[in-house]
């Protein structure tokens, strides 16, 4: 990673259709405008959206509490020439991302309209439903590589289950997405009906970092800087991993697959070691756990790779990968966001062909059953 790049690309570095064949577990499509949703949103909620807009748990309407590193947190080169925000033009996405990087499947992750953080649960459910329909009509049906997720707000459990069941009947969605910043830690029993439903339908649970709930983004309060806040994505899902494991979700729903998206993976080894160590000391506090936390993590959880950690020494990245487990990692690019990882250059440590294949394709294919 350290040498000066002063040579033309070698053939094996060029985007070669036959070489990559990747599954990208985190591609962000965007609404061109909220009018895109009109055909999927009952008049009443269209009106509500126009008149009241979002009602969130954080202040500052139509913005985020932290300035982002770039407009719409996007790569500067990802603004479609046709206008509209990054990620809103399928043809451009195909040309810039899917085709040259040889994406065999791309999993859509919608963040528009602060979809998980709507305080008005019925409005939230209407928006989620519209966005679930929009994902198929505007994306999956126009490019079958792009796979849609069922987005639900888990704080309205009944509404969520109704939506999951509606979408599952359609049969085209590949996972259920909930927020990492719900009102309570994700392991709480109030959310279990969603997990039960996911297990019964054999749909993985996707948890994409970000958004704002009612709590500060870090356990220590509201940070001062975006760079600090960006770090907190990893803390948040580390806390959610602990909550899910220790409250007994994988014990109770052993077939449920849980995928943490966009949290990176550098933090996992330490979190799991610590849980195991404490489990040995305090297991009488949690007699509902039959096995060590690490065993649940190894069987029930997967982690997408972006934003990949970049230690100074390549072997340290290698060690992280091994600690987490080659089988647990799913490649993701986060296109078109500013911290996008290019599959050709993101792993600055050697991987064998078999390992590459697992991380870039077969692990995801097994989890999502492509």
């Amino acid at each position: 990673m350290s040498e000066v790049i002063d040579r033309p690309l070698r053939d094996d570095e060029k985007p070669a259709a036959s070489r990559l064949r990747i599954v990208d577990c985190d591609v962000h499509p965007s609404l061109r405008s909220t009018d895109d949703l009109n055909e999927f949103l009952p008049r009443r909620w269209q009106q509500h959206l126009k008149e009241y807009g979002s009602h969130l748990r954080t202040p500052y309407l139509f913005t985020t509490p932290y300035p982002r590193s770039s407009p719409l947190i996007a790569r500067r080169d990802a603004w479609p020439p046709t206008g509209g925000p990054p990620g809103s033009d399928l043809a451009f996405m195909q040309k810039q991302h899917l085709d040259p990087l040889d994406v065999e499947f791309g999993i859509l992750q919608v963040l528009d309209l602060f979809i998980f953080s709507q305080q008005n649960l019925e409005f939230g459910a209407a928006i989620q439903r519209a966005i679930n329909d929009w994902q198929l009509a505007f994306w999956s049906h126009r490019d079958p590589r792009l796979k849609a997720s069922i987005l639900v707000g888990q704080d309205g459990v009944d509404l969520a289950i109704a939506e999951i069941e509606r979408c599952a009947k359609i049969g085209e969605y590949i996972q259920i997405n909930v927020s990492p910043r719900a009102n309570e830690p994700l392991g709480r029993r109030r959310y279990w009906p969603i997990y039960e439903c996911a297990q019964a339908l054999d749909l993985p649970l996707g948890i994409h970092v970000g958004g704002y709930g009612g709590h500060a983004p870090t356990g220590g309060g509201w940070p001062s800087y975006y760079v600090e806040e960006h770090q907190s994505n990893a803390h948040t899902i580390a806390a959610q991993l602990a909550s899910l494991v220790i409250e007994g979700v994988p014990e109770r729903f052993p077939k449920l697959k849980i995928v943490f998206i966009e949290g990176g993976f550098g933090w996992i080894a330490s979190a799991v070691w610590r849980m195991d160590q404490h489990f040995e000391r305090f297991r009488s506090e949690v007699p509902h756990l039959k096995r060590k936390p690490s065993e649940y993590v190894r069987e029930s959880f997967w982690f997408t790779t972006q934003p990949i950690d970049e230690p100074d020494e390549a072997r340290h990245l290698r060690a992280l990968i091994e600690w987490v487990g080659i089988d647990r990692l799913l490649f993701s690019s986060d296109y078109p966001h500013w911290d996008f990882d290019d599959p050709r250059f993101a792993f600055k440590t050697p991987l064998t062909e078999v390992e590459r294949k697992k991380i870039f394709s077969t692990n995801a294919r097994a989890v999502y059953k492509f």
């Binding site: 990673m1 350290s2 000066v4 790049i5 002063d6 033309p8 690309l9 590193s69 770039s70 790569r75 500067r76 080169d77 500013w338 911290d339 996008f340 990882d341 290019d342 050709r344 250059f345 993101a346």
Partner: protein
């Protein structure tokens, strides 16, 4: 090093750039405040196309809340992860010992001077009143 005529000066407006293929390399030539800089069009981090980079100022801060700008337009901010590079030599502003974009010598020469030299390739419609940007690779 061979010299390659890559553009007429009028083709690259101030603050703009032009991507050229020189000897099989994807090179981007920037025009900043009357000067031209040529760099490999590829970020050494993950390969982002630098033609989409922002031309920014050097931003320094003696203390929180106080910012100073200098060398306006001469720093290149990668379109992806925002690493910054000095356009004059390709040096990374972050970890400068380890990261550098390959940069190339650039000259601007008048068309009528060029016409006398060996570089009046038939393929270039040289108009003698123009100046041309020359990159050495």
């Amino acid at each position: 090093m061979a010299r390659h005529i890559v553009a007429s000066t009028s083709e690259i407006p101030p603050g703009g750039n032009k991507v050229v293929d020189v000897a099989g390399r994807d090179i981007v030539v920037f025009h900043v405040n009357g000067e031209y800089f040529a760099l490999l069009n590829r970020c050494p981090h993950e390969g982002a196309p630098l033609e989409k980079a922002a031309c920014v100022a050097r931003l320094t801060s003696p203390e929180p809340g106080v910012y100073e700008r200098s060398r306006v337009g001469e720093m290149l901010r990668c379109p992806w992860h925002g690493w910054e590079f000095d356009m004059r030599n390709g040096q990374s502003w972050f970890d400068p010992k380890r990261f550098k974009i390959r940069s190339y010598p650039v000259a601007v020469e008048r068309g009528d001077e060029l016409q006398k030299g060996p570089y009046v390739a038939e393929t270039f419609p040289v108009r003698v009143e123009d100046s041309y940007v020359i990159v050495e690779v």
